[in-house]
Amino acid sequence: MAWTRNLLFRLAVLVAFAQPAASAEGLVSTKRLSAPLAAELAMAAVAACAEKDYHVGVVVLDYSGVQQAALRGDGAAPQNVLNANDKAYTAASFGADTADLVARSKNGAVSSAFVKVPHLLLNAGGVVIKVGDEVIGAIGVSGAPGGDNDAACAKTALEKIRDRMK
């Protein structure tokens, strides 16, 4: 049995040291929106929804799920901001729009069990912020009638800043 343990130990060591070799960099660089652009994005989403008479809360998160900007539009309730945060958090975490996650959960591609995890919310209105293929954050909107309407405001807002995301 000693040789099996020895082998397992050697394998473990091999795995442990093989991992860093695959990504030899010691530091990882990520991007995120500048504060002014994050604020502008949030305001554009509030405005896009207000134009349709939807009163929404909006949150912009960076890639790690940290809040960069939050706005509670006129007539929106405090819980709209909380919901917006969770929609953005879910989108950033999965690297996918929450509307897509809702669709994927219906055919079983995404487990809906994850909604028990704090801040994960399976509801349309969370949209990823992407630079090329890289997800650099997410925006969440809540308060419009139906998550798809929330998502539409988020996408309109993203279009307004897209050219400056570089």
Binding site: P36, V66, Q68, A69, L71
Partner: protein, 170 residues
């Protein structure tokens, strides 16, 4: 008897009518009206405040609270410390709660220290950086800025934000 009764009745009616206008302002209102900032102005004040500090190399975060202490707008400045998010909120809340700018509360505390237990309440912070937003005499919100390194830098940036919108507060 009939005459006296009438007199009494008239006197009572007269007294009631005389008192009515006095009573009305004190208690007759069924609703209280409050004034709030539209989100566009809250946004403009906050982004101006954070940008004013950033232009001086000061990395700050900020919030705008409505008169009830609820957050209307929040912005984490680039490079701002992790705690600035909370302290900005505490500063605005303290200013709102005492209806006094943080810088004045700090000054006042030098001669009149606040009662000890108050410091233990959540979201209260005796520090500069919270500034009232007023429309005439009415408080319509407060802005809190945190992260500036140096004396009263946060206050100056917060005031720059309020100044930017003050002509439109009517």
């Amino acid at each position: 008897m009939r005459l006296r009764g009438t007199f009494r009745g008239r006197a009572a009616t007269l007294a009631f009518l005389l008192l009515l206008p006095c009573m009305r302002p004190a208690s007759a209102q069924g609703l209280i009206k409050k004034t709030y900032l539209p989100i566009e102005l809250a946004y403009e004040a906050l982004t101006t405040a954070v940008a004013t500090c950033a232009a001086q190399g000061q990395h700050v975060s900020g919030v705008v609270l409505d008169p009830d202490g609820l957050q209307q707008a929040f912005l984490r400045g680039d490079g701002a410390g992790i705690h600035t998010v909370e302290t900005a909120d505490y500063k605005a809340n303290t200013t709102l709660s005492f209806r006094t700018d943080g810088v004045d509360l700090v000054e006042r505390s030098k001669t009149r220290p606040p009662p000890g237990p108050i410091g233990k309440l959540p979201r209260l912070l005796l520090a500069q950086g919270g500034v009232l937003i007023k429309a005439g005499d009415e408080i319509v919100g407060a802005i809190g800025i945190s992260g500036g390194a140096g004396n009263n830098i946060d206050t100056a940036c917060a005031r720059a934000g309020v100044d930017k919108i003050k002509d439109r507060l009517k």
